[in-house]
């Protein structure tokens, strides 16, 4: 990759251009001028870049070429479901009738976008086996917060919040689960993972009592495995009066195959930027709808789209936990997810999980001899978690190095060092949109890297050498953080 500038990072837009240069003109106010607020209320100076429009476009085009996206190549980032994002969905979200709708517009004038929301709510309920949903959460983590707060308020209404202060979270969970429970005022008890990769049932039994508010379980879990006996877990959690929460980050694995509600979960969130293929945007925007059974439905975050004789409207559930954003949710993302859902249909969604799981298993089969596989059931769902422990032990090559070497082979690395229970973890999720040849090419690179680790271990330790930039020094960035542009001398 050649961006034509040796050290593009050294010069921000702020360091380019020239005083007085303009990229766009603003209409002049020709009318009678009202007096402006006094100087004490007015801005003294504003420092922003001064560039021509061509310079802005070239600068950001150059930056884009330093990036790797799904459009660039295989991106098997485990638990993130980096599948191809259909371009038509972006165009649909940009239709002026949808994109320019004001959130406070009278409901009868926004029936079209409310219909999108309503049908999406219904489809997500049907797919997950729940009675009700809210599209309000802006992302998965906010969906989790919504779900845990629904539990909190329900316990409050039962008069049990005072004594139910604990949330159980498996040690394989995403960090957002314990962080969310803490944000909602609960303490977190970690449940270990058994040798088969499911939650340790005995440990769960020991921890379950009337001090427990909820258990949060990722389904399938972050090892890419089905949580065995989940319906029994649900029964035990319910027996002590607690709720069972499903983290639906990995829904892609079981789309159309199994439903959280049927398995005994009370509440769940799903990530539309994952399973419903809306662009990840370099870290958002996403959407994290929350779904639940009839018992928790009165607590859903506002708003929900309600259908009654007057048409569609935005409603507030009776005991709602309240709003999560000023307005109604990430509708631009919801429209894309709806378009995806309609273009797939049920058969298409079932084909998604089938191919996603097939690809992950194929990849597992191609790599299982070259890498360790700590929780081995002979089969996986949507992702496989390998370990670079053999490479580290025998050749001093770490998973970190393997990831950087994959960059030189032209691939985005998988998720590394997660889940935390797997040493030197390589969490690989190929997704259904990678064709067989791409899965094989990725496996070929992984096998070549395993061979290199033995023959030329230094190659890994100095990688990447073909990326836009080499390994960066992270420690000084955290000790003496340089977090913003300042003019020379300031």
């Amino acid at each position: 990759m050649n961006v034509g500038e040796r050290d593009i990072g050294a010069r921000l837009a702020f360091d380019r251009g020239s005083p007085g240069r303009r990229a766009v003109s603003v209409p002049r106010w020709e009318g009678e001028a009202a007096p402006l607020p006094p100087a004490g209320l007015r801005r003294e100076r504003l420092r922003l870049p001064e560039l021509s429009q061509g310079e802005v476009v070239r600068y950001y085009t150059a930056l884009s070429r330093l990036n790797y996206g799904i459009d660039s190549g295989t991106y098997p980032l485990g638990s993130c479901t980096m599948k191809y994002n259909p371009k038509v969905d972006d165009l649909m979200a940009a239709l002026p009738g949808l994109a320019d709708a004001h959130p406070l517009e009278a409901e009868e004038r926004v029936q079209g976008i409310l219909r999108v929301g309503h049908e999406l709510q219904e489809a997500l309920c049907s797919l997950t086996g729940f009675a009700a949903s809210s599209l309000a959460p802006a992302a998965g983590a906010q969906g989790e917060l919504a779900g845990v707060l629904m539990v909190k308020r329900a316990l409050d209404d039962r008069g049990e919040l005072g004594r139910r202060r604990r949330v159980l979270v498996p040690d394989s969970a995403h960090g957002t689960n314990p962080a969310t429970a803490a944000m909602a005022g609960f303490t977190v008890t970690q449940i270990p993972t058994a040798s088969d990769g499911s939650m340790d049932g005995e440990a769960l039994e020991r921890e379950l009592d009337e001090s427990v508010a909820a258990a949060m379980v990722t389904m399938p879990n972050t090892l890419g495995l089905w949580e065995r006996g989940i319906d029994e877990v649900a029964a035990r959690v319910h027996a002590v009066g607690a709720y069972l929460y499903a983290d639906g980050a990995n829904l892609n694995a079981i789309l159309g195959r199994a439903r959280f509600g049927d398995l005994g979960f009370d509440v769940a969130h799903v990530n539309l930027h994952k399973s419903f293929s809306t662009p990840h945007g370099g870290g958002g925007p996403g959407a994290g709808p929350v779904l639940c059974g009839a018992e928790l439905a009165p607590y859903l975050p506002a708003p929900v789209v309600v259908s009654d004789e007057g048409g569609l409207r935005l409603g507030r559930p009776e005991r709602s936990i309240g709003r999560l954003q000023q307005f109604h949710g990430s509708y631009g993302v919801l429209v894309r997810a709806y378009a995806y859902l309609r273009s797939m249909g049920l058969d298409g969604l079932r084909a998604v999980s089938e191919h996603a799981v097939l690809n992950a298993n194929y990849l597992r089969a191609l790599l299982v001899d070259a890498y360790d596989l700590p929780y081995d059931r002979g089969r996986v769902l949507h992702e496989v978690v390998l370990a670079g422990t053999r490479q580290r032990r025998e050749h001093g090559v770490r998973t970190y190095d393997i990831a950087k070497r994959l960059i030189d082979h032209g691939f985005h690395p998988p998720t590394v060092y997660f889940p935390l229970i797997v040493e030197e973890a390589l969490m690989i999720e190929p997704t259904e949109t990678e064709p067989r040849e791409a899965v094989e090419a990725f496996a070929g690179a992984m096998l070549a890297i395993a061979a290199e680790a033995a023959s030329d271990p230094d190659l890994g330790r100095s990688a990447p050498c073909g990326a836009p930039i080499g390994r960066l020094s992270a420690a000084p960035a955290a000790r003496r953080p340089d977090l913003r542009w300042l003019p020379p001398g300031e």
């Binding site: 996206g69 004038r109 995403h174 960090g175 065995r228 370099g282 631009g332 977090l483």
Partner: protein, 453 residues
């Protein structure tokens, strides 16, 4: 592939799902081909009567703005749009450097020292600011000054319930340019922070310096939720003593989009850097410069990484500052490109144009028989209160009959100037013809109502 796996059918891939739960009945309509999908979505869009062809004077936290078109085209680049959180900095410098630009733009605009890479929206960003203030001060009460966006107040209540904080709502000062008296006496050593909106929900411009001075007397931090376009004209809140600035970036990044996806701005003092929620990008260098053909090592180059990650959920888990993970990176990119395209003069001129157009429209409405149009307080920005010959709901209904969304009925609010009023918004992007149409419609409604002043 199946043969390699020793399977005879793909159904076996799911054999671990107990049979009684496998392949349930699901109601999803059959698949549509691309052409059918486009027809369906066009029909949905046509069911709305809410695009820019329909005059609307709604604001209240979502504003139709003049966004430079290149903001929209840059974010369409697949390298930006289809990447994810930059966990691998060597192949994510585009996202990372752009995020550093964003942090820099937000710091300059707000007059603050540090910014994160953005949160969900103004409401949740303000709630995160309140949680941060509670962590820093170890106090459990939160004061909010009316008029505050009701959506923001609702979100604050949601997050306060999560964190077991108390919310106290302080009545609006009669003049936002003199907020001190409303605050003094209301705050004490129990208060973690005072939350205020600039301009306030009814459009009034707040003197943040007087407000900060009054709030700081009790040791409370000041959290100001600011409209970023207004900051093109108004004093940087950081210069006025504000401790945390939040805001809504969506409308300077693209269309209002039924209110989302949004972009929460969040900037603070450097002292509080390690308490910030969300992701932060730092500037650093390569460990080693690239090697030339002759084997010599060149100077290390500048690069960007996610930093201060010890605050974050994927490392700290239940001790993290927030559960924040996926955010609004692409909207933040559009916001950055838009502001850097406008530049310092363009932003200032847009803000002033917005101010002048709104003031002119208010003056014209005020001249109409039967109407009074007033901004709140001594100074106001883009929203003003209109009282007419009919009750607000009826006035809005008659305007709607004439194809116009006249504004927001705020008659239920406690502030005296909101009584019997609608909140009307005119921005730099409101077409002049729409204002003419509103004036004409208001006049015809008044004639119809047979009203006199």
């Amino acid at each position: 592939m199946l043969a390699r796996l020793g399977l005879s059918s793909t159904a076996e891939l799911f054999s671990e799902i107990p049979e009684r739960y496998r392949d349930p009945a699901i109601e999803i309509p059959p698949a549509l081909a691309e052409r059918e999908l486009v027809e369906l979505m066009r029909a949905r869009a046509a069911e709305n009567a809410a695009d820019r062809a329909h005059p609307s004077f709604l604001g209240a936290g979502a504003y139709r703005r003049s966004v430079p078109s290149i903001a929209g085209s840059v974010v369409q680049r697949g390298e930006f749009a289809t990447a994810y959180t930059p966990y691998q900095p060597e192949i994510s410098q585009g996202t990372l450097q752009a995020a550093f630009e964003f942090q820099s733009v937000v710091c300059e605009l707000t007059g603050m020292e540090v910014s994160n890479t953005g949160l969900y929206d103004a409401g949740s960003a303000t709630a995160e600011a309140v949680l941060m203030a509670a962590r820093i001060t170890r106090r459990r009460s939160v004061a909010v000054l009316e008029p505050l966006h009701p959506g923001t107040l609702d979100v604050l209540r949601t997050y306060a319930y999560a964190a077991d904080l108390d919310i106290e709502v302080l009545g609006a000062p009669p003049d936002p340019a003199d907020p001190g008296p409303a605050i003094r006496g209301a705050l004490d050593e129990r208060h973690a922070c005072l939350v205020v909106q600039q301009p306030d929900f009814l459009g009034g411009i707040v003197d943040l310096e007087l407000l900060s001075r009054a709030a700081h007397e009790s040791g409370a931090l000041v959290v100001a939720a600011c409209d970023p376009l207004a900051l093109g004209l108004l004093r940087a809140p950081g210069d006025a003593g504000v401790d945390v600035v939040t805001g809504e970036g969506r409308d300077l990044a693209g269309p209002v989009g039924f209110g989302g996806p949004s972009l929460g701005l969040f900037a603070a003092r450097r002292d509080h850097m390690r308490q910030l929620p969300g992701r932060i990008v730092g500037r650093t260098r390569e460990l080693h410069g690239p090697r030339r053909a002759d084997g010599e090592e060149e100077e290390p180059r500048t690069g960007y990484v996610l930093t201060l990650q010890a605050r974050e959920q994927f490392i700290r888990r239940e001790r993290a500052t927030s559960n924040f993970s996926t955010g609004q990176q692409l909207i933040a990119l559009a916001f950055t490109v838009a502001l850097e395209t406008l530049g310092p003069r363009g932003l200032g001129e847009s803000a002033e144009l917005c101010y002048q157009r709104a003031h002119r429209a208010a003056a014209r409405i005020d001249e109409l028989e039967g109407y009074a149009a007033r901004g709140r307080g001594s100074w106001w920005f883009q929203e003003f209160l209109v009282r007419g010959p009919l009750p607000p709901a009826e006035l809005l209904r008659r305007l709607k009959e004439r194809g116009i969304t006249g504004g927001l009925d705020v008659s239920g609010r406690p502030e005296p100037e909101a009584r019997e009023a609608i909140l009307v918004c005119v921005t730099e992007a409101t077409p002049a013809g729409d204002v003419d149409a509103l004036i004409e419609a208001l006049a015809s409604v008044a004639a119809e109502a047979g009203a006199s002043p």
